[in-house]
């Protein structure tokens, strides 16, 4: 029976791109269905309104939203729609997905991140699980990503540097800001080992893409030069060049259809004109980012799957994880500095690119017990002018400020200091109370149930976040920063999300097998961050890319190796 395509990939972000590229290069026909528009370098401008203050690359909350459940002060779970709260949970619905808008801080997970349960033992109230593969199994694909996506950096040894198969990064580091040297010195004085952060940003033209233009607007903005290693710029463009890959924007998959035997036999989608269509393929790959992947599987009931696809054991949507941690800032006041130094710090464009992993693992100061810590990342406050100005409208005692006092606050904020920021990344311990389900009431504009997310967290994550934040504060203090403040909470960063479809060897306790194929379905794979049982203490994107390339090779094997149709 002839099918429309060999492989259908649902979602074009970091989980979908590697699969489309690998299989198209091997000569298989691939279709990528993306619900959002197809924007390109020429469409991405430094426009704060379009990029950060309105829904341009994401759906309007009037049309599509989420429902979030948070525990109130009395310990009761309260649900609120994101339309009501204004807390937008969309992360880039366009070709290339959220990878268009990442900052591209690229870190690998460490070997012990793959075996948290065995290395650190169980934690009460947590669902820790070892990964069914080890770091050494994923390392070749981490390495592949450095070359294919394009990772710039410079290897500097530090206590928890993970083993690597390549001596150094394929591209030199991006240009660094004068503050980076000051951070290094402060860290040296304190006995810490700061190191240059690898970035998924090209530091010189390569791979058919331009180098970074250092325009000072990276995270939250689409890249106008092509230097940022989004799935779109780095992978899908090359996939299309093979002649075997088609990307279809404005195609929202509404359901994955399965037959009486339990095999997937088609997807149903709604195109840009609102027409419901179907297409079929040999293999189906879901990569819609963790929350929407779960939602699609749960919506796709079939004769053999009354509870949704791959969900006979009720595990789909469970053990959702984020990046735990917090943020802090300090002001480097120009008035405290020699004029030359002050003017060098005013330079805009080059990156800070400094991180600390001295406490990626650490001994508990009280018990001496070895504990899992995390990563501290240093960066300047985002250059967005409107958000910086709007933040000045509240006084320290929470009153609205206006008139001349507001203007004075804004002027001072913009012109008297650089605002150095740190971000702490530590493990979001998987717990029963962090999961995705379908909301029983709220529907999107097509009448489909929206995802409902319960946002529970383990109190231990906050302890670790505070421990790391205090370490980060010592660096800001050493730098002479003023007005230092920081905050660690259980409120998750919605753009750093994974889990929900754990991979594992036990079909009763996991959704996917070692190859990220659904245990109970032969032609369904999940290749976004959903597979992760634990997330490490770093942003997930590099790991998602690496795993998707790994799984793409497994899919290629399942299809019978490179196709005759290829080259």
């Amino acid at each position: 029976m002839s099918r429309d395509f060999d492989v259908c990939v649902i979602g074009s972000g970091a989980g979908g791109g590697p699969v489309a590229l690998t299989l198209a290069e091997a000569g298989y026909s691939v279709v990528v269905l993306e619900k959002g528009p197809w924007l390109d370098e020429k469409d991405f401008c430094k426009d704060e309104i379009a990029s950060c203050r309105r829904s341009t690359y994401t759906p309007s909350l009037l049309d599509e939203r989420h429902v979030l459940e948070q525990r109130n002060d009395e310990g009761v779970w309260e649900a609120e729609s994101t339309l009501d709260s204004g807390w937008d949970w969309w992360n880039g619905n366009c070709v290339g997905g959220a990878s268009n808008f990442m900052s591209g801080f690229f870190h690998r997970m460490k070997p012990d991140d793959f075996r948290l349960l065995s290395a650190f033992g169980p934690v009460e109230g947590a669902n820790l699980a070892d990964w069914p593969i080890g770091y050494e199994n994923l390392e070749p694909w981490y390495d592949l990503v450095e070359h294919r996506v394009g990772v710039s950096g410079k290897l500097v040894e530090h206590p928890y540097q993970e083993p690597r198969s390549s001596a150094d990064f394929p591209y030199p580091p991006t240009v660094e800001h004068p503050i980076s040297g000051l951070i290094d010195k402060a860290c040296r004085d304190l006995g810490y080992s700061s190191f240059p952060v690898p970035r998924a940003v090209l530091s010189r033209p390569a791979l058919g893409r331009n180098s970074c233009l250092y325009t000072n607007y990276c995270g939250s903005y689409g890249c106008s030069s092509g230097a940022k290693g989004s799935s779109r710029a780095a992978l899908l463009k090359q996939a299309i060049r093979t002649g075997h890959c088609r990307v279809r924007p404005h195609c929202m998959v509404s359901r994955i259809l399965s037959d009486q035997k339990g095999r997937i036999d088609a997807v149903e989608y709604i195109d840009g004109d609102g027409a419901r269509k179907r297409l079929d393929a040999e293999i189906y790959v879901v990569a819609c980012q963790a929350i929407e992947t779960t939602r699609l599987l749960l919506m796709s009931t079939g004769p053999r799957y009354p509870n949704g696809l791959a969900n006979s054991n009720g595990q789909v949507g469970r053990n959702l994880i984020f990046s735990a941690g917090g943020i802090g800032t300090g002001d480097i006041l120009y008035a405290d500095l020699a004029p030359d130094l002050a003017s060098s710090l005013k330079v805009r464009g080059p990156f800070v690119n400094r991180a600390l992993q001295d406490w990626y693992f650490y001994s508990d100061p009280e018990t001496g017990e070895r504990r899992k810590g995390g990563t501290i990342e240093f960066l300047f406050r985002h250059a967005n002018a409107i958000s910086q100005a709007v933040a000045q409208k509240w006084s320290s005692d929470d009153n609205l400020v206006w008139g001349k006092p507001l203007k004075d606050r804004i002027k001072t904020y913009f012109t008297s200091a650089r605002h150095l920021r740190f971000e702490v990344f530590n493990d979001w311990t998987p717990v029963d109370d962090c999961f995705v389900s379908l909301d029983p009431r709220e529907k999107d504009k097509w009448g489909m149930p929206v995802a409902r997310i319960r946002l529970g967290y383990h109190p231990r994550d906050l302890e670790v976040g505070r421990f790391l934040s205090r370490k980060a504060v010592t660096v800001l203090e050493r730098l002479g920063a003023k007005n230092i403040s920081w905050n660690v909470s259980g409120s998750p960063p919605q753009n750093l999300v994974a889990g929900g479809c754990r991979f594992g060897t036990d079909p009763k306790a996991s959704v996917l097998d070692l190859d990220c194929k659904a245990h109970e379905i032969d032609n369904l794979y999940v290749t976004d961050g959903s597979f992760m049982p634990t997330g490490g203490s770093v942003p997930f994107t590099w790991t998602i890319y690496a795993n998707a390339f790994r799984v793409a090779d497994r899919i290629l094997e399942a299809l019978g190796g490179p196709s005759d149709k290829g080259s």
Binding site: K46, E48, I49, L62, S224, L400
Partner: protein, 183 residues
């Protein structure tokens, strides 16, 4: 974060009932245009409030210089603008004009600046009133610091005031919010 909290309040209970949109008479002031959403009297009231929230100074632009009223009017005309927030912004004009009539016997744009401050401070003491004003401050600052293509910040006057580099490339008329990806 909870941008909708104010909607639950419903009205400025402490200040009076009115969701009615007071037909403020802006006589005396130079005639103000009406916009896509704002009627002429609404425009006048909003302009007076914005002028107070973000005053003009000899060496620093205010709401007037950055075309804050036209910017807000255009923002409210966006079909994807949250209809409940739009309703609140328009209702707030009615609340303010009612208080102004009650206390001063004058439409707000004709009230002396010192008395305007008193009135706005009183409004800010209620949850809904504070959020109404907070929204207006936000849109004033958007007008000050967004790309001139959105109707505010003429010639980058706001960026210059704050020595802010807005980055390159700048948007072109076909790439701004509302048009991008729609062609």
């Amino acid at each position: 974060m909870k941008r909708r909290d104010f909607l639950k309040v419903g009205s400025l209970a402490a200040l009076g009932p009115g969701p009615s949109l007071a037909p403020a008479d802006a006589a005396g002031a130079s005639p103000r245009p009406s916009g896509r959403v704002l009627s002429e009297p609404q425009w006048a009231t909003i302009a007076a409030v914005q002028d107070h929230l973000l005053p003009s100074e000899p060496d620093a632009p205010g709401a007037r210089e950055v075309n804050a009223t036209a910017y807000l009017d255009r923002t409210l005309a966006d079909p994807k603008f949250d209809p409940d927030v739009k309703k609140l912004i328009l209702q707030g004009i009615g609340w303010l004009e009612e208080i102004s009539q009650e206390r001063e016997g004058l439409p707000f744009p004709q009230v002396r600046p010192a008395r305007r401050e008193d009135m706005l401070r009183k409004i800010a003491r209620t949850r809904a009133g504070e959020r109404w004003l907070s929204r207006l401050v936000t849109y004033c600052l958007e007008a000050m610091l967004s790309d001139p293509l959105y109707g505010g910040n003429p010639g980058g006057i706001g960026w210059k005031w704050l020595e802010h580099d807005p980055g390159q490339p700048r948007p072109t008329p076909d790439k701004i919010y509302g048009r991008l990806g729609k062609a």
